[in-house]
Symmetry: C2
Subunit: 96 residues, 2 copies
């Protein structure tokens, strides 16, 4: 699993990044945190993100790989309406 | 490594959570993201976080374990002033 987190001050850029991530199949699990079972280097997503941030200074994006085992051991406090099987790609349709 | 991420709307609670995490030795790597090489279940930190959020509804805290290997493969865009050896506990003093 790949977790993408960002700290972006400019709203227009933050919106573009969020839309790009959603378009590429990443699920938002928190305001500035997305997750998906595929590597952002695939289909040049990481290059696109670098381009979006190229003109700015203080913005940051991190990507961390998480083993599926650790992903399933996620600890949560508060409402956590996320289908781990769907997010990890072990289930193709989301049951709402 | 343990990554703690939160989405907390009330500023007073968010401040208390951040101070508690810093007091327990977690390093802030992003506005609402902290990391440390120890499990938050240790020294009852997770219980303390649950208590802080008990009176609220829409707030969330996640904790994800990250292997040291994956932590060192972190991908970044933007300024990333973080000493991976220090954060992972492989070096005791931080060189600034």
């Amino acid at each position: 699993m790949y977790l993408i987190l960002y700290d972006i001050t400019e709203t227009p850029i933050r919106t573009k990044v969020a839309k790009l991530l959603e378009k590429e199949g990443y699920e938002r699990i928190q305001f500035s945190v997305f997750i998906a079972p595929f590597n952002p280097s695939k289909n040049r997503l990481w290059l696109k993100l670098e381009k979006l941030l190229a003109t700015t200074k203080d913005n940051k994006i991190f990507c961390l790989k998480i083993t599926e085992e650790n992903f399933y051991k996620i600890k949560t406090i508060g409402k956590f309406e996320i289908d781990l099987d769907y997010l990890s790609g072990n289930k193709s349709s989301l049951i709402i």
